[in-house]
């Protein structure tokens, strides 16, 4: 029985996975580096009276480019949801989003001319830095956690894991029919309360202090050793099943934790982006209003 590579026969339709970071041999990293180089040259060429600042011609150029870049980067949030439109590869968009987002840090910093104060202008800059920092953390998560998740899942999927846990729950109930009431109650509670996930903190920490399965295992360890011979086999089977369930639960909960860690940055990145949009609007209006 030889396995055939399902991908090898589908040239042109599918290609092997290419990370957004290396997409097209770092095309957008190169573009971002070029943009940074041009910005630095602009900054150095321009020598307004006094120190360099955002109001000189280079300052306005960098500011305009930065503001347009922010709008375009935010458009990615909309673009990634619209699957039907033929607007290019989403991986390409993400690659551009990451690298051009990082180069925005340089463009905007040069736009400030390194002048900061307690005002809305610096607030907009600080917001932008927070958005970029949260995005950079997101990139780190996208590199770090999928690998951990793959290692943790070991080829299984979450529905499979849950299916197995459900199966074990059924078996536990069946086997527990013949054991003593105390153990049966422990098993019943372990079967009935099997939370996976939950609150934000629980998902992120992976900490389930009131896990009924762990409690049942601990409770069975405490049970008297002199059980009746007809129950001994059942008790042993229950321990095996509980151990198996506990191990599956650990994996499932760890998976949930990795997923939560991988997703949590976006809950900062997106709202901060909108805060940045408001601050940017206030910055631009304040500069031209007065």
């Amino acid at each position: 029985m030889t396995a055939t590579d399902p991908i090898s026969g589908l040239h042109g339709r599918l290609s092997r996975h290419e990370s957004f970071l290396v997409w097209k041999q770092f095309r957008y990293l190169k573009i971002a580096c070029a943009a940074i180089a041009v910005s630095i040259i602009l900054y150095l060429i321009d020598s307004p009276y006094g120190s360099r600042y955002g109001g000189s011609w280079a300052g306005y150029t960098l500011g305009t480019v930065g503001a347009l870049l922010i709008l375009w980067l935010m458009w990615f949030g909309y673009r990634k949801r619209s699957y039907l439109k033929n607007q290019g590869n989403l991986v390409a968009w993400l690659s551009a989003h990451v690298y051009l987002g990082l180069c925005l840090l340089v463009i905007a910093t040069l736009h400030t001319g390194f002048h900061f104060g307690w005002n809305i202008h610096t607030l907009a800059y600080a917001m932008m830095c927070l958005v970029i920092a949260s995005g950079a953390f997101g990139v780190f998560c996208y590199i770090q956690y999928p690998r951990s998740m793959t290692e943790n899942r070991r080829g299984t999927t979450m529905p499979q894991l849950l299916g197995r846990v459900a199966g074990l729950n059924d078996q536990l109930r069946t086997v527990a029919m013949c054991v003593d009431d105390r153990t049966a109650a422990l098993i019943e509670r372990a079967v009935e309360t099997t939370p996976i996930g939950g609150s934000t903190w629980r998902q992120l920490s992976g900490h389930y202090p009131d896990c009924a399965t762990a409690a049942a295992l601990a409770g069975m360890a405490d049970s008297p050793a002199n059980t009746a011979p007809d129950q001994a086999l059942a008790m042993r089977q229950l321990r095996v099943l509980l151990n198996e369930k506990s191990e599956l639960l650990t994996r499932a909960r760890r998976d949930v934790r990795y997923k939560a860690k991988m997703d949590i940055w976006l809950y900062f990145h997106v709202p901060l982006s909108f805060a940045l949009l408001a601050a940017l609007l206030a910055h631009v209006v304040a500069v031209f209003y007065l």
């Binding site: 120190s51 080829g155 197995r164 609150s199 095996v240």
Partner: protein, 566 residues
């Protein structure tokens, strides 16, 4: 290995059996359809286990990750024999006694169908942050709205509801304007403007409009022009161009504490690098920088003191330029090291005559009374040591002398009467000759005494002409008008106070100056020993505005507030 596989399916109490034969090295179980015995349930692994024929009989081997149980015991590899129960995921595989001719017989049954327990598990589980109270949309709206209100709507409302306040009036701080001033201020406000900085409307009179000159001129109405209006030169179009420019085009506010004055030489050199070519009639020389590119100083000197005519002269010209103040004066003669013991004076120093202005920038004008009189008195008669003629008016000197001697003649007897002159006159040495008793004799006496005194006063070795130039055209006892300048570098400023630690003779070679025509202003070479370019590292950074001013009040107002503009 030949095997008989029986798949059992239960429907209530009924059991359906489906049997088929298999031949192969091993029998592989798993979810995948390529397995010998496919286990069609999501909980089974793609490739879960394999039953093989070993040397000691049949054995089952785990191929996947999920636990494999044989008779309730978890195992990775275990020998099996007829009657054993193997659990792979939700499937139970029971080994039976193989019929004749076959190696293995086994039944496969899905004993744990997915049912309520999975549903219950899914109900209890809450996987994914989107199932929590966190919401990207809610957070986004909250932050966007809050910041828009605080940073945009509130400042605009505060600005719009404020009444205009004159910029040069003190505005007491209130919460609203301070918030607006702090929140929207794009940069530090210059120090002179800080006292009304919280009143944005003082300068920003309209929304989305540049700051008008009227806002600046409400305080700076007397700011001087850069180009004079009286000059008949090709610079007039430039003057009009400058007058059309807004103040804020050069003076940018919110650029920090250093102020709004642009000090970079590029601003000046932009025009002045080629003014000799572009405006030849203006008589200006090109400046391309400092120290390189700056021409030698051009001094303003007295050309003719009588007509008060001035001239401009290049300090580096050959022959050297000379001043014509109509005064005979030698610095060297005054700065003799031994001093003037006969008069009781110690050696003189510069400060004996050159008194600084209150600002210390320049020096007060030299006057006879202030600087010369102590040594150079205007006594005219040894017999009258307390009497001096007035200074500064040669005509008055003559009339004063005549009047003085006439009054003596009158006091001694009056015209036509009085005591006749004794035959033998006995006088104390240096005492006055008594007036003759007759009026004709007295008149002659007055004339004689006046003439004698005038000879002394206008003497070239001890009187006026010791220092002054005679004006022979007007008569024998006439002094040519004097014109002494206090500034020689008219368009530039030199602050002596800032250079106080440096000895005077370091720059001014007065010790060797014999004549008042000598120009003692040092050339640019002296400046550049300490002053460098605006970017100099090891010299004082100097730019055009270090010495020159742009707005010169003597050239008239720069801008005028148009009627109705305010």
């Amino acid at each position: 290995m030949q095997a008989e596989i029986t798949v059992l399916t239960r429907r209530g109490t009924a059991v359906m059996r489906k049997t088929h034969l298999l031949t192969g090295e091993s029998i592989q179980f798993g979810r995948g359809t390529d397995n010998d015995v496919p286990l069609a349930d999501i909980r089974a692994e793609l490739t879960a286990a394999a039953l093989r024929q070993g040397a000691d009989g049949l054995f089952i081997q785990r191929l996947g990750d999920a636990p494999l149980r044989v008779n309730g015991e978890t195992t990775a590899n275990s020998p099996v024999r007829p009657g054993d129960e193997i659990l792979i995921g939700p499937y139970k595989i029971v080994l039976g006694n193989p019929p004749a001719g076959l190696d293995v017989a086994l039944s496969v049954e899905l004993v744990e169908p997915i049912g309520d327990s999975l549903q219950r598990l899914l109900t209890q589980s809450s996987i994914g942050l989107d199932k929590t109270k966190l919401s990207k949309r809610r957070g986004s709206w909250l932050l966007f709205t809050t910041l828009t209100i605080l940073c945009l709507a509130v400042p605009i409302a505060l600005y719009s509801t404020r009444e205009g306040v004159k910029p040069n009036t003190y505005v007491p701080a209130d919460g609203g304007s301070s918030l607006l001033g702090i929140a929207w201020n794009p940069g530090e406000i210059s120090n002179p403007h800080r006292y009304f900085a919280q009143n944005c409307g003082a300068c920003h009179q309209n929304a989305f409009a540049a700051v008008k000159d009227s806002a600046c001129l409400s305080c700076h109405s007397k700011i001087g022009n850069h180009i004079g209006s009286a000059i008949e030169s090709d610079a007039l179009p430039m003057r009009r161009l400058l007058e059309k420019m807004r103040c804020a085009e050069c003076h940018e506010e919110h650029r920090g504490l250093r102020g709004l004055v642009t000090r970079e030489e590029a601003l000046c050199i932009g025009c002045h690098r080629s003014l000799a070519e572009s405006l030849p009639k203006a008589g200006l020389r090109d400046v391309r920088g400092f120290p390189e590119g700056h021409p030698q100083f051009r001094l303003t000197l007295v050309a003719d003191a009588a007509t008060r005519r001035l001239q401009k002269a290049d300090l580096g010209a050959d022959p050297k330029p000379s001043d014509h103040p109509n005064l005979v004066f030698s610095h060297a003669a005054h700065l003799v090291p031994e001093g003037f013991p006969a008069l009781g004076y110690k050696p003189m120093v510069c400060a004996d005559c050159h008194v600084p202005e209150p600002s210390g920038q320049g020096f007060l004008a030299i006057t006879y009374k202030g600087q010369c009189h102590d040594c150079h008195t205007q006594k005219f008669d040894a017999a009258l040591p307390g009497k001096e003629v007035p200074h500064g008016d040669d005509e008055r000197v003559i009339t004063e002398l005549e009047g003085f001697y006439a009054s003596i003649a009158l006091r001694e007897g009056g015209p036509g009467g009085g005591v006749p002159a004794p035959e033998i006159e006995r006088r104390l040495p240096a005492s006055l000759l008594p007036p003759p008793s007759d009026p004709a004799g007295r008149r002659a006496w007055v004339r004689q005494q006046t003439s004698q005194a005038l000879g002394i006063i206008f003497d070239k070795n001890r009187g006026c002409f010791y220092c002054h130039v005679p004006d022979s055209a007007r008569g024998p006892f006439r002094v040519a008008p004097v014109m002494l300048l206090t500034r020689f570098l008219a368009p530039a400023r030199f602050d002596h106070a800032k250079h106080a630690p440096i000895e005077c003779d370091h720059c001014h070679d007065a010790q060797h100056s014999q004549a008042s025509s000598d120009v003692l202003v040092p050339g640019i070479a002296m400046c550049v020993t300490c002053h460098g370019a605006e970017t100099a590292s090891f010299k004082a950074q100097s730019t055009c505005t270090s010495c020159h001013i742009f707005h010169r009040q003597e050239l008239g107002p720069m801008h005028q507030v148009m009627a109705g503009e305010k």
